[in-house]
């Protein structure tokens, strides 16, 4: 296990080193990333210019949801955002090369790239978080701080697992790659808002199928000290890590299924 971790670190270091070779270009990319994603928040600001609250959530609270989900998504995007290129790998037949190596194909795919410049998206999220916290004036406890860190990390894992799960579609249809976006970028979009604004079926979907509700909404209820109009049990607010583990198991199973299919149906 330790050996795998150190190999991962080594592979990531090699990628990052080659990206940092061009300092100015990297810095510009970082800023650009932050800029593009900030647009989403501008949209949120524009919304709140027109209404005082969104289903009982103030701008500070929605900004908090936005920031935490954005940071979680950015971390995942940094580490495995390159999975979008998996379709090309499969189409060109280069995926076969991974099967010749004595390592898990999923591990190899995950370590193929690491885009440090996407950190810009995380920094933008951090800036919005600071903005949210200044608006909110919360009473911080060690528990809440721990929850804040946990929700971002667990959120990143959930996003990652969902990403891996949906990208497996390329092993059945290379052209179907874009459907994955609906779940990954779409999921990130939905996590920016309190799930109470969605229809019941969508809420349930976000809780039990693509568990975006556990990326931002549930943990936020705890940190912000809000009542849950849906009346869900209180302990669910702490369920993010468990949900993260479940999604990882699901993603692993899906990948194995995809590998069985690929190896019998051919490239």
């Amino acid at each position: 296990m330790a050996e795998v971790v150190s190999l991962y670190a080594r592979l990531v270091r090699a990628r990052v080193r080659s990206q940092l070779q061009y300092r100015t270009s990297f810095a510009l990319d970082l800023v650009a990333m932050a800029g593009i994603t900030f647009l989403d928040f501008v949209a949120v600001l524009v919304i709140f210019r027109n209404v005082p609250t969104l289903d009982g959530w103030s701008i500070g609270e929605v900004a908090f949801l936005y920031a935490t989900s954005a940071m979680a998504f950015a971390l995942t995007d940094m580490a495995i955002g390159h999975l979008d290129g998996l379709s090309q790998l499969v189409r060109e037949g280069s995926f076969d090369l991974l099967l010749i190596r004595p390592r898990s194909t999923l591990f190899q795919v995950m370590t193929m790239d690491f885009q440090l410049k996407r950190l810009g998206k995380a920094l933008q999220g951090l800036a919005v978080l600071v903005y949210a916290l200044t608006l909110l004036d919360l009473a911080w406890t060690p528990g809440k701080i721990a929850m804040l860190v946990t929700m971002i990390l667990a959120g990143a894992v959930i996003f990652g697992a969902v990403w891996i799960f949906v990208i497996c579609i390329v092993f059945w249809s290379v052209e179907g790659r874009e459907t994955a976006n609906a779940f990954t970028y779409g999921g990130n979009y939905l996590a920016q808002f309190p799930i109470t604004i969605y229809d019941a079926w969508l809420r349930r979907f976000l809780a039990y199928v693509v568990p975006m509700a556990f990326v931002s909404y549930m943990p936020a209820l705890f940190i912000l000290g809000k009542e849950d109009p849906l009346g869900l049990p209180g302990w669910l607010r702490f369920a993010s890590p468990a949900v993260a583990v479940l999604t990882v198991l699901g993603a692993g199973a899906m990948w194995r299924h995809a590998m069985r299919h690929y190896r019998s149906a051919g490239g």
């Binding site: 270009s25 650009a32 524009v46 210019r49 027109n50 969104l54």
Partner: protein
């Protein structure tokens, strides 16, 4: 004229060759349509009307954005920039048709395919499931179609223009990203320009971006009608002319530079 028709047909076929990709795109568009629609509806719990849009208009706006997004192709277009960087543009210079005119014909062909296969399905689904605001008169419908064609052309004019940077810069990614950021926000793709604070809306209308999406959408919904609509169409045409002209000028300068310096 025949040449342009053929080029447009090729543009159409290039995308028609991948139906699975189109269906994947339609699925994603519809998912986003539902999502953004849900968020907008939550706004209307408090107010009947925001920025001149009622709830139905806001939903229509959301679905139109999803229907038009593929056809209008606001970001990610790097074909021309890549051709200039690699020097392949030299081949185009030798052709009897100007690259801008050829590119516009090809893009219109592509846009037709996307309008038919990634535009109509989401719009139909949206209209069936929700109560959308449809064009009130056949004339409005016709004006909408004209506006969409102009919007695609304006988008192409803009894309052509920013691709010109490739003649001078090593890596046009920065220019592309910056244009994508600005274009996406000001075209109304993220949130209607009508929702913007006045100062920001004024800035938006000083750019060609609203002409790429907001204008046709407003004509469809009926926010712009009668003489206002005619004026909006004229404005789109004016932006188109300006962008195409600017593009031609920069292209001539860039081509000169290329020829002088060698590939």
């Amino acid at each position: 004229m025949r040449v342009y028709w053929e080029i447009a047909r090729c543009g159409y076929q290039r995308y028609a060759a991948y139906p699975a990709a189109t269906w994947a795109g339609v699925f994603t568009n519809m998912v986003f349509g539902f999502m953004r629609g849900s968020v907008l509806l939550a706004l209307y719990a408090h107010r009947d009307e925001i920025g001149g849009y009622n709830a139905s208009a806001a939903l229509t706006y959301t679905w139109l954005v999803q229907a038009l997004i593929a056809a209008i192709y606001i970001w990610g277009w790097r074909e021309l920039g890549d051709r200039i960087r690699s020097g392949d543009i030299a081949i185009d210079l030798a052709r009897p048709v100007h690259p801008q005119a050829a590119g516009l014909a090809s893009d219109l062909g592509r846009a037709l395919y996307h309008l038919l296969f990634r535009g109509v399905p989401p719009l139909l689904v949206g209209a069936v499931v929700f109560e959308l605001t449809m064009p009130q008169t056949p004339l409005a419908g016709a004006a909408f179609v004209v506006s969409v064609v102009l919007a695609v052309a304006v988008s192409y004019g803009f894309r052509f223009l920013y691709s010109m940077a490739a003649f001078w810069l090593v890596d046009i990614r920065g220019v592309m990203v910056a244009s994508a950021v600005v274009a996406t926000l000001f075209s109304g793709f993220v949130i209607p320009v009508a929702y913007f604070p006045e100062w920001l809306a004024a800035v938006a209308y000083a750019t060609p971006f609203p002409a790429m999406a907001q204008t046709p959408i407003d004509i469809f919904i009926g926010v712009l009608s009668g003489t206002e609509a005619a004026g909006a169409l004229a404005m789109q045409a004016a932006w188109l002319a300006a962008l195409l002209l600017g593009g031609r000028v920069l292209f001539a300068a860039g081509a000169r530079r290329l020829v002088v310096q060698g590939g």
